[in-house]
Each structure stands twice: as C-alpha cells, then as structure tokens.
C-alpha cells in the first residue's frame, strides 16, 4: 500500500472513529438557555433495573424500574385506614347536632370493621368479614389464605411467563403482593393492570362490556371446553393476540356473529370482571383461531395473551386485586455503579493499549484502531438492537468479546513475530503469520459465535441477552482480527522505512553467528 493511499485511508478512518467516539460518549446542552440537549449514545443505552443514570438534561432517567403493590379485596394499607378514619372523625366532629350520633357510629363501625395485621403496629388492615369470614372474626380464614396463595401462584406464572429480566414477585406483609418490573419495558402500566385481573376467563357479546351477554357454560362443562388457550404472534409489524377455540367455542362465536353483517357486534373477552379484549365484528366469524390485532405492541400482545391463558389454564382464584403504591425505583446497584463501570472499561482500554504499545510499539496503533472500531460498533449495536440493553450480562459479554479480539490480535502478531525471527521479510512474515493463524482464529470465532447464537435461541432473560451480545461480539471480533487489523497493519507499516519495519513492530530477526 502506497504512503499516499495509506495516509488518506487512515485520515478517513481517524475522522470516522473520532466522530463515532464523540457521538457515543459526549452529551451537552445547547441553544438559548441551554434549551436543547444532545445525549450521547452511551447515555441513551437502555439499562436494566440494576443499572441506571440521568440523561444530560437532568430530568430524564434511564434504567431502574417500578414497584407496585397488589392489594386483595378486604386488605388496605395502614395509611389508607388512617386517612379514612381521620376523614370520618373529622366529619363526626363537624356534624350537626342531629347527625352527630350517626357520624360517630360510622367511626366506630369503621374501627370495628378492620383489624390491624400482624400486630398493633402492622402495615396493613384486614376487613374482618372478607379475611376472617365473619364481622367478629379474629382469625384469618383458611379460605382467604387459600385464595391468596392461588393468586400468588397466578401472578408468579404471569410474571415468570413474561421472560423479562429483573421482574420480581414478592409476598409483602403476608397478604399483599409486591411487583417489581424494569423500566426498559414500555408497557409497565399494561403489565401491572392486566396482570392484576383475577377470576375465571369468560367471553360475551353485546354493545358494552358491562351489559354484554356472557357465555353460559353447559352443566358438566367448563370454559376450557370452549377456549383452549391464548398466545401472542405477529405478522410484520402487526402484533396479534390469538384465541384458540375448540369446535364448541367456534360454534358459539359463529352464532354470536351470525347477524354481524347486518348489525355490528362487539365480542368481549374477560378475565374476572375485566374485559381485556373488545373486538368489533361486522361479519360472521367461523374460525378455530381468532387473531385479534389492535394497537398491540410486541409486549402488550404478550401481556394480554398471557393474562388470558393463565386465567384459562393457571391457578384459579376469585379474589379481586387493585394496583396501588406504584413507585419509580432507581438503579438497584445505585447510580454510581454505571459511572464506575465506565471508568473500569476506560482503565481496561488504557491497560490494553499500554501492553500492546510496549510489546509491539507502532503495531499497537493498528490494534488500537481495530479495537476502537469493534468497541464503538458494539456500543451502537447494543443501542440499536431491541433485545439488548446495558446490564451485567451485556457488560460481561462485551468484556469477553473485547478480550477475544485482543487475544486474537496477539496470537496473530506472535505468529508473525516467529516468522520474522526466521529471517523472512516483513511482508512475507505477515502473509505467513496470518496464513498460519487464519483457521485457528476462524474456528475460535465460529465456535464462540455458534455458542452465543444457541444461547440466544434457547435461553431466557439475562443468558439470552448474553448469548446475543457474545455472538455479535465474536462475529465482529473475527472480522476485525482477520481483516480489519491486517488492513491497519499494512496502512501503518507503509510509513516505516524498509529497514525500520522490524523496529516499528518491535520484532527482531535471529542473527546467526558466522562462526
């Protein structure tokens, strides 16, 4: 490669690397009163619930998650109890003389209606009639306990079925359920509300959800004799909730929609009292599978399908739940963790450069350029691929992929060093060194990429993301070490004199003694 061509190529590559480096790492505000903000790619990477950080505008936070509490009917928080009681007491205090007795009775009734759990300083109040089975009960009934346990296993099945990282289901205070979901999912509200729906699955038709005519299940049959299950699917960018009907179910739907061509009908699919799907129909439907699209996204279609499927095939409970105490949580590992991760990656890059420059002198530049191309390409990929976000598993995959590239470059450089030591010319040594290393490195990267892609295809959550990042990292590392690095070597080498090429790479030839 001529010096001019090398210079032009290296200038272009340097500009590209600097541009991408700026785009990836620098955030700043600009405009009048700093109205606008440019956020770097690194700051905009989606983060899991363990990591998180503020964007440059100081207003938006990426990462962390949300927690919410599912309160079953008959259970209220101590704060709600205090607020209600204080309101009643205030009403009693301000009541007119004739109404005072009733208002004071309302206070005492309210006090008698609930018992604090588990003790006098407990965090929740249980409605005696619901939880104990009678107004004067003091022991929580077995039926309530059983209903609550069924609900917990239903919630667990739903949240586990989401296959999202950092999802948590915790029993709080024995009789409420605390849910934790990551912020990177765009469907937090849908997840929290739809998954709170309990009760049996049912379907109906009519003009509105409340007054719709519901399916009457024949004696000796269950709703499962009409509907087999539900799942989510997609076609291009349209997402569907698919309801799988039995022949009975198909007939029922066909009957309900028989006159739909004349008068439009709306079909409703319920879990408990909540209509999760309403489908407006203007023609007869006579199908075994109903693919229902709407404004579903990938996530919301899965959530609705999962809520219906678990209501059909999961644990049964009639205990109704409401969503309260929703809180935005920041990074579980604290905001500092992300900054320290960036610092540690920077330190690693500096250490790597020190090693390559000390051992290979000018050849370190070829590795530096190769590594930076790989590094920024990986950052852009993590940013652009929806299945990837910044978490510990992605960090580990990036570390392993980056190290794989360094090791590959080092193995090649050492192979060339050996050839050069035999007295060959630099061009011949490079050719021979790469030839000898090619299949070794090819096999290494193919095996690792295959390993990663299978993890991505079969595993779930963190390991799945790790597999994808590792696979992409290995493929890029293979391309970089086998081709890009060699190109950089040739480009940088063209500036060294013929005699100085060995010195440029810190390679030495073995000089045989004439004697």
């Amino acid at each position: 490669m001529s010096k001019v061509k090398s210079a032009v190529a290296l200038i272009l590559i340097t500009i590209l690397i600097l541009g991408v480096c700026f785009m990836c790492t620098v955030s700043f505000s600009y405009g009048t009163d700093q109205m606008y903000t440019f956020n770097s790619v690194v700051s905009m990477l989606t983060k899991d619930a363990k990591l998180g950080g503020e964007l440059a505008d100081g207003e938006h936070y990426l990462g962390g998650g949300y927690t919410a509490v599912y309160y079953p009917e008959g259970v209220i928080s101590a704060q709600e109890y205090e607020d209600d009681l204080n309101a009643l007491k205030e009403a009693a205090a301000n009541a007119a003389a004739g109404e005072k007795e009733d208002a004071e009775k309302a206070v005492s009734d309210y006090e008698g209606k609930y018992m604090r759990y588990p003790d006098a300083n407990g965090p929740i109040f249980l409605e005696k009639e619901t939880a104990c089975g009678s107004k004067d009960g003091t022991e929580i009934s077995a039926e309530f306990k059983e209903d609550f346990a069924s609900a917990v296993s239903l919630f667990r099945a739903r949240y586990e079925g989401l296959h999202l990282e950092d999802v948590k289901v915790q029993i709080a205070d024995d009789y409420t359920v605390q849910i934790g979901i990551p912020a990177y999912t765009g469907a937090q509200s849908v997840i929290l509300t739809q998954f709170a729906s309990t009760g049996a699955f049912n379907m109906g038709y009519g003009s509105d959800a409340a007054s719709a005519t519901k399916l009457t299940v024949a004696k000796g049959e269950t709703v499962n004799d009409y509907v087999k299950g539900a799942h989510a699917t997609f076609n291009g960018s349209t997402y569907f909730v698919v309801i799988d009907l039995t022949d009975f179910g198909r007939k029922v739907i066909a009957d309900w929609t028989a006159t739909a061509a004349d008068t439009a009908v709306t079909l409703y699919f319920y879990v408990g009292d909540d209509a999760l799907i309403s489908l407006s129909v203007n023609q007869t439907i006579d199908l075994n599978t109903l693919g229902i699209s709407g404004n579903y996204t990938d996530e919301t279609s899965k959530v609705v399908a999962l809520a219906i499927d678990t209501a059909l095939n999961g644990a049964k409970t009639d205990l109704a739940f409401r969503v309260e105490d929703v809180v935005r949580t920041h990074a579980a590992m604290t905001d500092l963790a992300l900054i320290l991760i960036y610092v540690s990656v920077g330190a690693l890059i500096l250490g790597m450069l020190a090693f390559f420059f000390v051992r290979y002198h000018g050849l370190g530049l070829a590795h530096l350029y190769t590594f930076l191309i790989w590094f920024f390409a990986m950052i852009l990929i993590v940013w652009g691929v929806p299945q990837l976000h910044l978490g510990i598993e992605t960090l580990l995959a990036l570390l392993l992929g980056g190290t794989l590239l360094c090791v590959s470059d080092m193995l090649t450089y050492e192979a060339v060093r050996k050839e050069y030591a035999l007295g060959k010319t630099m061009a011949s040594s490079v050719k021979e060194g790469y030839k000898k290393s090619f299949w070794r490195l090819f096999d290494l990267h193919i095996a690792v990429a295959g390993f990663g892609v299978l993890l991505f295809a079969i595993a779930l959550t963190e390991l799945q993301a790790f597999g994808l990042a590792l696979c992409i990292g290995a493929v890029l590392s293979g391309l970089c070490s086998l081709f890009v690095s060699r190109f950089h070597w040739a480009a940088f080498m063209s500036f060294a004199s013929k005699e100085g090429k060995g010195k440029f790479c810190n390679f030495k030839q073995e000089v045989e003694d004439d004697d």
């Binding site: 296959h163 937090q188 809180v327 991760i341 540690s344 250490g351 190290t403 290494l444 390991l463 597999g467």
Partner: protein
C-alpha cells in the same frame, strides 16, 4: 525436541476431587439452592411517604434524621436508603409525592421495626414541623417468589451450545479432541456452579447459569487454542497421539496461560473498580476463567491421549485382524 505426553500421575486424584466437588455442589444446591442474597428477595423495608411540602421546606434531612434516630433507638440497622417518586398507576407519570425507603436484612426483629415505625409516626404527625407534609411511615415484610424457568432453560441452552460447538471441533480436529473438549466444558460448567453452591458466595439469581455459560465459553476458547495444534500431528499420523499432545501442550502453555490471564484481568479490573453490586456480580466470573485453564491443562490432554490411544489400538487391531488370504498376500 521430542516431548512425549507423560500423563499426569495425579489425573485420577484430580478427577476424584472434581467429582467430589461437583457431587457436593449438586447436593448442596438441591438442599439449600444458591445464596441469592444479592437480589434481596427476603427482608424488610420501611416506607415513609410524604408530599411536596418536605421538599419545598427543605426538610428532607430533618425527616431522615427523625427516622434514623427512631431506628437506632429501637436497635434496628438499615442496609440501604433511597428516595423514590410515587407514580400514577394509569399514566405511569411521576407525581410530586415521594417515598423515603429504608431496607433491612431478613433477620431484623419485626417487633422492633414496628416500634420504630410507631415512633416515626409519632415524631412526624400532627403538631410537629412535618404536619403539612402528610408524612406516614409503614414497615413491610417481604418474601420473594423464585422463578425457575430461566435456570433450567439456561442449563439446556448451555448443554446444546456446548454439544454443537464441540461437534464443530469434532468435525475439524477429530473425535478425540471433540470428546475431550466436551468433557472439559461439562466439567468446567458444573465445577464452577458447584463451587458457588458450596462456598455460599452471594450471587444474583440469574448469575449461576451465566457463570456456567462463561466457564463453557472459556473452555471452548482455551480448548480450541490448544486443539488446533493437535490437528497437523494427528493428520500426519507419524507420531503417536501421546507425543503430539505432549508437544502441543508444552508449546502452547504460554498462549493458554496468557489467554486465560487476559480474560481474568478484564474481569478483575471491572470487579475492582466498579465496586458494590457490580463487583458482586462480576467477580465470581473469575472462577469461570480459572476452572477452564485447570481442565485444559490437566484433564483435556489426558482424555485426548486416552481416546487417541484407544483409537490407534483399534486401528492397529483392524490392521492385524483377519483380512482374507488374498489381501494378506498382497500386503506382504
């Protein structure tokens, strides 16, 4: 220089030690599971809800002090403190109301926590400087539900990925290399998670299967670095398998150690600088790097030689077996 692979005299002992550790790890996992304390599945939390007045009056510190005084007076010690924003469940928009949360370990006494919360409510209720802020404290006992899908699907994924990767090695470098690599991968993945189960090192729930995958990955990388050097010798068939393996191990020991060291340094540097939760999640991965170098140097070559020798013997036996009068005469 001819370097015959002398075999490791302690091979049987090493295999026995590995087997004991793996079996002990499996038993401990079955009985106790992993120590998933990092996830804080179980424990206690105190939430202090308040409205925007605290922020407007700049009383955050005073409120925190009142809470922390109540905790210390009742002998309870929190491990984490956060200020969070309340969110509207329908819109998911953050409101001006905040929640000050304190996290407590699983062994904390409920009675003491209840008393501390009662003391906080007394200190911040009506008639105090916080009266306008609607401050209310509650304590919560939390008990986590575990998800098992990611663990078993992950185990299957690693098994399939390892078999396919090693199938590739089989196709490229021969049966003995493939089987020995498979033995190393299986050993490394199981050994790594067994060590985590035995030491009870605190890990995140998702992590053991991730460390197993890293161990399998490292095993594949190191084994490929070594096995690629067997290929030419095995193909030429001029030397016995033991000699080829011996030469390759000696010539590549430096490459193997350097490769493992590079991966190890990357993990240690991140673990050492990014302290706290990140270190707890990243540092155990060092096991997943250390175990494969042990198996690649001490177990893999021994298994390769054993299989290669068996294959060579079988080949010899075939050569020496009855081949018919005509063929025998032509050989002579």
């Amino acid at each position: 220089m001819m370097t015959k692979f002398k075999g490791n005299k302690l091979f049987a002992l090493l295999v026995a030690i590995s087997s004991v550790i793996i079996i002990a790890g499996i038993i401990l996992y079955a009985v106790l599971g992993f120590n998933t304390a990092n996830d804080k599945f179980d424990g206690y939390r105190v939430d202090i809800n308040y409205n925007v007045m605290i922020e407007l009056d700049k009383k955050e510190e005073a409120l925190a002090k009142a809470c922390e005084d109540a905790f210390s007076q009742n002998g309870v010690k929190f491990s984490e403190k956060n200020t969070l924003s309340s969110v509207d469940a329908a819109s998911m928009n953050e409101s001006m109301d905040k929640v000050l949360t304190y996290t407590f370990a699983a062994g904390t006494k409920e009675e003491a926590l209840g008393k501390a919360v009662a003391a906080i409510n007394a200190a911040v209720g009506s008639g105090t400087e916080f009266a306008d802020a609607e401050v209310f404290a509650r304590w919560h006992a939390l008990e986590g539900e575990r998800f098992y899908d990611p663990a078993w699907r992950g185990a299957i994924a690693i098994a399939v990925a390892v078999v396919v990767a090693l199938g590739y090695i089989c196709a490229r470098y021969g049966l003995s290399c493939g089987v020995a690599g498979l033995a190393c991968c299986a050993h490394d993945a199981l050994f790594t998670v067994a060590l985590l189960a035995i030491t009870r090192f605190p890990v995140y729930a998702f992590a053991p299967v991730l460390y197993a995958a890293i161990a399998a990955f490292m095993s594949v990388v190191l084994w490929l670095v070594l096995a690629s050097k067997f290929k030419a010798g095995f193909k030429a068939g001029e030397k016995p398998g033991a000699e080829i393996v011996g030469e390759a191990v000696q010539a590549n020991r430096k490459d193997l150690l350097f490769t493992a060291l590079a991966f190890g340094i990357a993990i240690v540097v991140v673990g050492a600088i990014a302290v706290g939760g990140t270190a707890l999640a990243v540092l155990p991965a060092i096991l997943a790097v250390a175990v494969p170098i042990y198996s690649t140097l001490f177990i893999g070559p021994e298994v390769t030689v054993a299989i290669r020798t068996a294959l060579e013997k079988r080949k010899e036996k075939k050569k020496g077996g009855y081949v018919g009068k005509k063929k025998a005469e032509s050989r002579e």
